[in-house]
Symmetry: C2
Subunit: 388 residues, 2 copies
């Protein structure tokens, strides 16, 4: 804006303006979730409302000077300009839900204290991403496909987001990228628009079915390696411990880095803040929400309850048109309960079943973990019923 | 045996002799599980002790006349002799656990009645299978790979096991077979020996990571199709309903056929029949067992409890050497509990976590289903502790 004076000493000076509806937990680095009430009624989340999980300042990138460095570890890299990435390879559109490892941490924390941002159920969003397949780029760069699972085990990513000590990094299993049906892409568009600053302009990795932390934004290096990314976020964060691990006995080498996420679901309407619900014109109690699972697994059933899980009913799921094994996007669902006569309060519960018939855990204790990740116990909300 | 007279009117006359240790539920067709106590202490189950789930009589096959018919639905088939299948293609060894959809049905049935064989925890076994990749055979037969997920959606199998009305059949998603890293094989050996009569001699499909019902034995037809197998077992059985579905409101078209199975685990020692346990020389309570998940997902953690799940400890898992995403075999685990002083009875529990961080359900009610399949709630056993 005219007359605006940027603080040149503020590493966050390049951070963009954000939509005022986002629920902000940290300003610097920016961490904000989508209000749950805005998630459940549209299949694609708008760019402005898509949750933002930044680990570092938003970097300033001149698209004319941008280069993506691609290498087999220890060998000379080759470089791609933004224009090359946009024009040299077949371009794909992939609709994929991205979820933060810490989504729903607030509920886990309520059962017993954990460390991290107290995300409600809105650290998850769904968009259509456009770009070349990373597989095509790596093969063009001469990465030998025949070495996957032999000398090449991981594809490392490095972002341009950095502070004095480190830049953001993460890695994923090599076969997730290099198998011929891989849908890992280098996105330069999000919902048909130029990738927004907060979502990795000009290029981000989109790793569908995998924890958000691996879809590295402001991507500038890709390394095919025998090893995982050396980053803090690969080795010391985003790991799923047992309920017996605490900050005194934690051993990060004992558990692998999180990749695929488990089955998840939420009631988005009524939203988590609701205390009362009004029956609809037919005297029924309407609810809707999202369900999703990692690894390309679709949702085969969503079960809902109004008596805290004692009895269940099947929700209606909106067909997800994606192909078996590549169901990267969430599934929206809805239901209308007949509230038994005389019942003035309800304990609504939702649990989803994915295409491998995995289900969500019933309670928090057995999946509680010190880092507060992988929070996917049954979602519950207690409501007073107004017959209106 | 000399002088033996076969009843030529008995369709089961070709059924082989079986190992006396197998726990037999039905003789004709033969259905028997491996005693759980024999499962947990060896990685490979021996051919004689591998559980047997037959739907029909064991067919008599002359290997000289055996032919596998392969077709694109509606087109002329081509045929392969047994020798061609054994010599024309690269041969692979795949170590894969096969589990019946109804494993552990007995426990689900104890929570509320279901229909089917009351399998304990032994309708699961692990073997090394040898044969060509079905992908190679289909491509050789001219099945167009480019039509997968376009006009070809399913690969149908038909077995030689039949009665007057029907033969056994099942199907799997086409990409499970035709993706280039597929490990679906046509096995002619099991643990290095000729495939036994009960396990599909001379050829069976082995579909790793998928419910046992799709690894069709005595295979004689493979059809690439737009449709699933028309068989009873694809459409009316082996489906995962919600707890609200009973025999009065069941609608088989409402849920998909089971393919990948969810995460599973069991304590194999002490076995399910144990009532007491003796502490070891160190005064500790030793347990061991198996854990497994479908879809090639490995086991990242096994949590065990001696107080009915109030507190947990991590079991030691024996490293499974299979590649990420292709962990077809189970993982064996062990633990030794320090029993708190004065405690004379324990409620042992095990639950496993797979590489997508899915976990087993806590109780039977929410996963109960009328067909008694997908029984993977926490395994529990109550024991008296003998200190000597
Ligand atoms: Mo995250
Ligand atoms: Mo089965």
């Amino acid at each position: 804006a005219e007359g605006e004076v940027l603080d040149l000493n503020d590493p966050y000076a390049n951070d963009p303006e954000r939509h005022p509806a986002l629920i902000v937990y940290i300003q610097k680095p920016f961490n904000a979730e989508t209000p749950v009430a805005l998630l459940g009624d549209r299949f694609l989340t708008s760019n402005e409302l898509f949750f933002v999980r930044n680990h570092l300042p938003v970097p300033k990138v001149d698209p004319k000077n941008y280069k993506l460095e691609v290498s087999l570890e220890g060998k000379d890299p080759i470089y791609f300009t933004l224009e090359e990435l946009q024009t040299k390879f077949p371009i794909y559109e992939v609709t994929a839900t991205i979820q933060c490892a810490g989504n729903r941490r607030r509920e886990m924390n309520q059962s017993k204290e954990v460390k991290g941002i107290a995300w409600q159920g809105g650290a998850i969003s769904n968009a259509t991403w456009t770009g070349p397949k990373l597989r095509d780029v790596l093969l063009y760069a001469g990465i030998p496909e025949s070495e996957v699972d032999k000398t090449i085990h991981h594809i490392q990513f490095e972002g341009l987001d950095a502070d004095m000590e480190k830049s953001y990094g993460a890695s994923i299993p090599a076969q997730k990228v290099l198998n011929p049906s891989s849908e890992v892409i280098l996105a330069f568009k999000m919902n048909g628009e130029t990738l927004p600053l907060d979502h990795g302009y000009p290029i981000r990795a989109v790793v569908p079915g995998t924890v958000g932390a691996r879809s590295v934004k402001w991507l500038h290096k890709v390394i095919a390696s025998a090893q995982e990314s050396p980053s803090f976020w690969q080795h010391k964060d985003y790991k799923g411990f047992g309920p017996y691990t605490d900050w005194h006995n934690i051993d990060y080498t004992q558990v692998p880095a999180i990749q695929e996420l488990p089955v998840q679901s939420l009631i988005t309407s009524p939203p988590p803040s609701a205390k009362r619900v009004v029956l609809d014109a037919d005297g029924l109690l309407p609810i809707h929400g999202y369900a999703w699972s990692g690894g390309g697994r679709g949702i085969v059933r969503v079960d809902v309850s109004l008596d805290d899980g004692k009895t269940w009913e099947p929700a209606t799921i909106h067909p997800n048109q994606q192909t078996y094994g590549k169901v990267w996007a969430w599934t929206q669902w809805e239901h209308r309960f007949k509230v038994p006569e005389g019942v003035k309060e309800v304990d609504l519960v939702v649990k989803a079943v994915d295409s491998s018939y995995n289900t969500q855990p019933e309670s928090w204790g057995p999946v509680w973990n010190v880092r507060g990740v992988l929070a996917n116990a049954w979602y519950k909300i207690h409501l007073k019923v107004d017959e209106e």
